[in-house]
């Protein structure tokens, strides 16, 4: 079980999450922000700092 975060709805492409992420797990392109679940450490920094509440917490269980 691992906690990761994912951009799921209403991303405004502002990019602050990518700036705040300490492990470089977030990239922003024309479609919006994307979080690499393999790099995400689950710290929640992006979630706390997303003013649009576009980021969701997910519990993933390795296969």
């Amino acid at each position: 079980m691992k906690t990761v975060y994912a951009v799921t709805r209403g991303c405004t492409k502002c990019g602050w999450c990518a700036h705040e992420c300490q492990v470089g797990a977030i990239t922003v392109d024309r479609d919006g922000a994307h979080i690499d679940p393999n790099k995400c450490t689950g710290c929640g920094c992006c979630y706390d700092n997303c003013a649009s509440e576009a980021i969701e917490k997910r519990i993933i269980t390795p296969a």
Binding site: T8, R9, G10, C11, T12, K13, C14, G15, W16, A18, H19, V28, D29, R30, Y47, D48, N49, C50, A51, S52, E53, A54
Partner: protein, 492 residues
């Protein structure tokens, strides 16, 4: 009773003696979010400080304007403010509770030993030669003077600097129009979870399809400005109970003249009419808002820019785009351009300029594609500061911040005066990027510290040693970007 004499071109005001209400070391004109930073920093530095505010509470647009979204870096007094808000369950997701925020600021400013005057306007500057030495105020107590050794203009409109004779610019370089102004409103009884989990939030977060439906059905009288419908989810309400509160930045006035009272009045009237149309549309069309009600419209109109004082340095759009660093950095910021179209619908995260005879549309990064109003040629016409477009365009914001230099707070002509907040010395696009809540607060804090040093050494603010100021700011917990690069003479 004074006798006014009528003349051809107006009324002659009789000469009178203004009572000196009080004397201070530092007068802060304007108790918005910049003024709060300035007042706390000055008062904690031992200066007898007064903050003069035209409304009935501190925080300006962040509280009275319902722009309860303290974006940008948390640092210094701003960091402390967010911690205080969190302690009263008044902050989450970079959104704040405007009511709790007001009280937090009252307590922080009074706790620093600073005096406050509410419902008071600064209507003139008292000068000694080219140095400001006080302000004239008007309030319920009439017209009075307050003398101060130093003045920090955090009025937003640069009122004190204007009366002191500073040079300034207003609006867009091409036509002088300022950004669209917004009257914000708050809705209660929102089922936030229902909205968050809706198709609408996932697929139509700007409500473009909904607005079209509203138009077709006749529920919207005209195509409302398709500004990103920025919503601020007010914290501290019971979570997941379907009774959330949100602030909404949706209403816009255009062709604004925020320095003219008749046009300000027009914008309040127009803003409230727009809010009435918009909240009813939202209640009918947006999932989760079906049982919502209008709590209030903001008591303070969201004026995004007006006077920009001409300082020793003018921060430019290119400085923002290239993420400029300055030796005399006093705060850092990260945001790109954010221009609410002055003369038409939409939001522009780019600015127009001419390079080598060719018109260019410069953006700070991929946020340019998040505009809702694009230049001719659409998104593909956007370029970064080096002219790269399309796939080649670089998002400089993802690499680093940029600096606000001390010189942007120092007016060219007038002594003993600093400016801070949205009236800083910047060009139109530069100002559009540096007007966020936390950046304005940090500029104010730097100005407060600078005045303490200016008083301590008995020198003009423009002569304050930037190294001593920067060391003081870093000691106070301010983020000057020192972890990312060496500041000459300070951290190298």
């Amino acid at each position: 009773m004074l006798e006014y004499r009528r003349e051809e071109d107006g009324i002659v005001e009789p000469q009178r003696v203004l009572p000196v209400e009080s004397e201070y070391d530092v007068i802060v004109a304007g108790g918005g979010i910049a003024g709060v930073g300035a007042a706390i920093a000055a008062a904690r530095g031992g200066a007898r400080t007064l903050v003069i505010e035209q409304t009935s509470g501190l925080g300006g647009l962040a509280t009275m304007g319902l722009v309860n979204i303290p974006l940008d870096y948390r640092s210094g007094i701003g960091e402390e403010m967010i911690r205080e808000l969190e302690a009263v369950d008044g902050h989450w997701h970079r959104n704040s509770d405007p009511e709790k925020h007001k009280l937090v600021l009252d307590r922080m400013v009074r706790g620093a030993g600073c005096d406050i005057l509410f419902v008071t306007s600064v209507v003139d500057a008292v000068m000694r030669g080219n140095a400001i030495c006080g302000v004239v105020i008007e309030s319920k107590s009439g017209r009075q003077a307050i003398l101060g050794k130093r003045v920090i203009d955090c009025s937003g409109d640069a009122d004190a600097a204007y009366y002191a004779g500073c040079e300034y610019s207003v609006g867009r370089e091409s036509d002088g129009y300022v950004q669209g102004c917004s009257l914000e409103f708050r809705l209660g009884g929102v089922d936030w979870d229902a909205y968050q989990n809706s198709e609408c939030k996932a697929n139509d977060p700007r409500w473009e399809a909904l607005i079209e439906q509203g138009l077709q059905a006749g529920d919207l009288p005209y195509p409302i400005d398709n500004h990103l419908n920025w919503m601020t989810h007010v914290p501290g309400r019971p979570e997941h109970c379907g009774m959330d509160e949100v602030s909404i930045c949706f209403a816009h006035s255009r062709h604004c003249k925020p320095l003219e009272v008749r046009d300000l009045t027009r914008m309040y009237l127009e803003g409230r009419e727009q809010c009435d149309i918009l909240w009813k549309f939202i209640r009918t069309y947006v999932p989760g808002f079906g049982k919502s009600w209008l709590i209030d419209t903001a008591p303070l109109l969201g004026v995004r820019d007006s006077r920009r004082v001409l300082g020793e340095y003018t921060l430019t759009g290119f400085d923002v785009a290239r993420r400029a660093k300055f030796d005399d950095v006093i705060t850092i910021t990260w945001r790109g351009f954010d221009v609410h179209n002055p003369t038409g619908p939409g939001n522009q995260k780019w600015f127009e300029t001419v390079i080598d005879g060719e018109t260019r549309y410069i953006t700070a990064g991929l946020d340019g594609y998040g505009s809702s109003s694009f230049p001719p040629g659409g998104p593909d016409a956007l370029s970064d500061y080096l002219g790269r477009t399309g796939e080649e365009l670089q998002d400089e914001r993802q690499k680093t911040h940029y600096d606000v230099p001390y010189r942007c707070l120092v007016p060219q002509k007038v002594e003993n005066l600093l400016v801070a907040g949205r009236c800083l010395s910047a060009d139109f696009p530069g100002q559009s990027a540096t007007r966020l809540v936390m950046c304005c607060n940090a500029m104010g804090e730097a100005a407060g510290h600078a005045m303490v040093l200016s008083l301590k050494h008995d020198i003009a603010p423009r002569k304050v040693d930037r190294i001593e100021l920067q060391r003081r700011l870093i000691d106070a917990g301010c983020n000057l970007g020192q972890s990312e690069r060496a500041i000459p003479g300070v951290t190298d």
